[in-house]
């Protein structure tokens, strides 16, 4: 069982996030592994561990590889992935890749997966449900389309029986069960599992573990299909919203509910 997880280096949602020159500010200090990718890593690790436990692969067999497209600061995300116990971390990097849209990002990640597949077959690609900066949620779908693989999205429950993956997903008022054969692309939600806490040994080992850096040429892709050059959208402006006015705060002394109703009524909101 060889699994590739795609990860994104994103601004921490607990920090002041913003844009500079129409691009998201990505500082090493405030950047982190997209929290939702931890669910993807957890899902991948569990699938490999389950195979080892069942004896269908040897105790040393099976591999989880994390790939990310980022500048050098993105190593922060890969180090975090190492702490959780992934075997390999690869960063695809090139200045020309900055400003990639959904399609450029998916094309680059797909090329990296294909490159890994040339080394030895990839059974599964796992992603999180979204990246917490853009929240588009379309990369897993586009990755599946680029790779021509069956795609099972937004799983809250994942079962693997032999080479058939079955997921349960909830989309608003609809609950679906879908299945597809490996190799496949799978995305998992934040309710699919509880990501593990890194152990001391892994934290220590993660510090010095080697990160592989691949260029577009290494994965056989023309950087012009991604980055600003390949993007199908052009950001025209990014501006901070005006601060909200000071709130009106009432302390309830028996009339708090009346005050709330009055606020709604006098602002014509009822």
């Amino acid at each position: 069982m060889r699994i590739v997880v795609t990860a994104k280096y994103v601004p921490d949602i607990n920090t002041e996030r913003g844009f500079e020159d129409r691009r998201v500010v990505r500082n090493a200090g405030d950047g982190t592994l997209n929290e939702l990718d931890e669910n993807a890593i957890e899902a991948a690790l569990r699938l490999v561990e389950a195979e080892r436990e069942s004896g269908s692969i040897g105790p040393q067999e099976g591999e989880v590889v994390v790939i990310t497209m980022a500048g050098p600061d993105g190593d922060v995300a890969l180090r975090k992935a190492f702490q959780l116990g992934v075997d390999r971390g690869i960063r695809v990097s090139d200045d020309a890749l900055a400003g990639s849209d959904y399609f450029g990002t998916a094309a680059v990640l797909a090329a990296a997966v294909r490159k890994l597949g040339e080394e030895s077959p990839v059974d599964l690609v796992v992603t999180g449900m979204a990246a917490l900066d853009g929240l588009g949620s379309v990369i897993p779908t586009l990755l599946g389309a680029e790779l021509g693989l069956p795609t099972l999205n937004l799983a809250k429950k994942v079962e693997l029986a032999g080479r058939v993956l079955t997921i349960t997903r909830e989309l608003g008022d609809v609950t679906e069960q879908l299945s597809g054969p490996l190799p496949a692309v799978l995305s998992v939600t934040d309710t699919a599992n509880q990501p593990r806490f890194p152990g001391f040994k892994l934290i220590m080992a993660a510090r010095s573990k080697a990160i592989e850096v691949w260029s577009p040429a290494d994965i056989g892709i023309d950087p012009a299909v991604a980055g600003t050059a390949g993007a199908r959208t052009e950001t025209l402006s990014a501006a901070p919203r005006p601060e909200r006015a000071e709130p009106e705060i009432v302390t309830d002394k028996g009339e708090g509910g009346v005050a709330l109703a009055d606020f709604l009524i006098r602002n014509d909101l009822v």
Binding site: I13, F103, G134, G256, G257
Partner: protein, 325 residues
């Protein structure tokens, strides 16, 4: 008016949701509007579409390997996407608008991939500028506004609910339904089951409601006061992720749950963690009720009551019912 053709996804076609009416309103501002359905629209649906200026409903007739794709399978994103892509080619459309559910995002991505079209997800506005489609987005938990232009011939855009006020067309038309064949690529993905939860609450859907009342940890599991206020206001009910994980309520508001941007959002017993704020901070008016005066949600609200929600909510509900008469 330009000669642009705008397609709006109508799935399901057995009802016209408010979000679709909003899409139709936005679409009319961009060009001539057609709807794309995966099943036959009902008579009521056709009348509503006509009132919103839809001249033609394109009804996809999907087939795979010579066999018709029917039933629940028609709602699978891959099938919907094939229908949209074929409809764009058939009508030479320039813009495809979809609502912003997870299923619609999947269909939008696949259709755009197939068409080589530019894609914008979660737009809050869509307009034309210098011959290009420009979409506005509210990002980083509602703290930044961005605008981007689609640089390809075709634009596929998913639009957030409450991005426009639904307005019927100046003059109603009588829509014509036209079927068209769609070849869906073979796929090894099997739909084993699909269940639609029927909502008997009588409340509007959370992702489309104009008013939302949400409960968090502070409810201690009792959503009675939250539901009471919601019903007095005709609002939808949601929860924080914590409250949903406790099993107190099904659907939660947050950046990985339902993203809401209603006219009024009322958070009761919700502290306002970043995850929750990411799902509601774009709301127009934010009201908080919390017993903790230090709750972070107070930093982003317009009006707040520091107090016990079990006291404040029922009193507010009674006062609103009295006002409504």
């Amino acid at each position: 008016m330009t000669n642009r053709t705008v397609l709006v996804l109508l799935d399901p076609a057995t009802e016209v949701r408010t979000s679709v009416l909003e899409l139709l309103t936005i679409a009319r501002g961009l060009g001539r509007v057609e709807a794309v359905a995966l099943e036959a629209p009902t008579v009521e649906v056709l009348a509503q579409l006509g009132a919103y200026g839809v001249e033609t409903v394109r009804q996809a007739q999907p087939a795979r390997d010579g066999a018709s794709v029917s039933g629940d399978e028609r709602h699978l994103p891959a099938v919907v996407a094939a229908g949209l892509a074929a409809a764009v080619r058939l009508t030479d459309a320039d813009v495809v608008l979809l609502p912003t559910s997870f299923a619609a995002k999947e269909a939008a991505a696949l259709a755009a991939h197939e068409l080589g079209a530019g894609l914008v997800i979660d737009a809050a506005s869509v307009r034309e500028q210098g011959g290009r489609i420009v979409a506005g987005k509210r990002v980083f938990a509602g703290s930044w506004d961005t605008e981007c232009a689609v640089t390809t011939d075709v634009a596929v855009v998913t639009v957030r609910a409450n991005s426009a006020v639904a307005q019927p067309a100046a003059a109603a038309v009588e829509p014509v339904t036209e079927g068209f064949a769609v070849e869906v690529a073979p796929s090894p993905v099997k739909l084993l089951s699909r269940e639609v939860k029927s909502d008997t609450s009588g409340r509007p859907p959370l992702d489309q409601a104009a008013v939302v009342v949400a409960g968090g940890r502070g409810t201690d599991g009792d959503f009675g006061p939250v539901e009471d206020l919601a019903d007095a206001l005709g609002a939808a009910v949601g929860a924080s992720r914590d409250a949903a994980f406790e099993g107190w309520w099904d659907t939660y508001v947050g950046q990985t749950g339902v993203t809401v941007a209603p006219r009024v959002y009322i958070g009761a017993g919700i502290s306002g963690a970043p995850h929750h704020r990411g799902g509601m901070q774009a709301s127009q008016v934010i009201i908080a009720v919390n017993s903790d005066p230090e709750a972070p949600i107070f930093e982003i609200c317009d009006f707040a009551v520091v107090g016990r929600l079990a006291d404040v909510l029922p009193q507010a509900a009674a006062e609103i019912r009295k006002h409504k008469g």
